[in-house]
Amino acid sequence: MSSSIEPNSASELERILPLLSGGEPEEEQRVRALLALASADEQALAEAYEADEQALAAYAETQQGDHPIMLGFADSVMAQIATEQTAAASTSPEQVLAHAESLEDEARSQAPILRPSFSGVQTLMAMAALFLGALGLAILFSAEDAPAAKRGSGVVAEVVEPIPAKEQPAALDVEAPAKPEGLAEGSPEFATPARPGARSRRAPRGRPGIVPVDGRGGQQANPMLDALMRGWQRPSRVPPLAEGEREVKF
């Protein structure tokens, strides 16, 4: 055998030392020849290995022969095998299949029957979803029924164009405010006192043909309703007239 056993170091020697036990005879001879040239430490290590080997050999001698516990071992093994074979033979394939089916039926009968059940919250959410869906469909159909807007009307609606001054009196058919004496036009006192809350109202959009008048959406109020409203709102909204002022009606 041409194995390259060359103990160049202690670790290499240590690696090949187990070859002493159970190795090839040629290898064993080579190891022993190389050990003769080894250092004192390596030879001590080899001695330790040899001693271990002798101890293991002494132990191995106790691990042979008949053990009392193994008496009747073959009989017990054969009896066990016979029991298994009898059990296997007593159950024919049909019996095995029937047994499996019965087990399956039993498992199925014990399984709980699953029915859908909804809690109050789930029902509420489902109803809300239905309502929202119906509302969405209604809006969609009503939008389809409405006449189509003119092209560009949306853009025009955003622009509040100033009304020419000459058209305003004729279009509104309202009485022009009397110019108080002593007040210059454009002075702050000349301006109509703003009613509280009027600022929060949204300015009317400039739709074609409708002119904003008093900030109420460009619609002319019912005269009776307007009088009623003015009488009801005056004490709280309009400050009391100062001396020399007079009420102006539009």
Binding site: G22, A51, Y59, D66
Partner: protein, 192 residues
Amino acid sequence: MSRAQAPTDSELVLAALDGDSESFRTLVERHQKRAFWVARGMLHNDEDARDVTQEAFIRVHRSLARFDTKLKFTTWLHQIVVNLSIDSIRKRKRRGGVDLDSVGEVEDHRDVQDPVEQQELTGRVARILEELPPKYKTIMVLSDLQGIGAKQIAEITGTTHATVRWRHHRARKLFREAWERVYGKGSHVFEH
């Protein structure tokens, strides 16, 4: 007239497959001793070793149809024995280990009465072997105690020949370290 030769293991396996239970009994009787001692070397307990050996033969009988007659029967049997022994060691560890004091008590069942010194030595060796990890102990039991060759050990353990050689070296080193740790550095196995 020449005497009929004993049937080989493969022939006995084939006969057992045909339903001849006596052939399988012959197999059991032929290999039970070594299988037991392999398990005994791994487990250091007679009862456990017997149980493992019995379970191994029962498994062999169940799987006879899968046996490749080109291989050695003993390799297959020892493979099962080693695997079952390692499983048993793991279960034992999960249960809480083993009492090392009982490990050293190795009874000598041979007819020849050995000196007390020899019995004490074997007890010490058993205790050190018990400390080794299973994969190293397997190599030492199969190689040093049962004298099985490295090639067959490689087949039994499912490793290569080189791996067995390396593990054998490592097992010897661990054995020496454990010996020095337990019985003192520089102590000789025969000096106590």
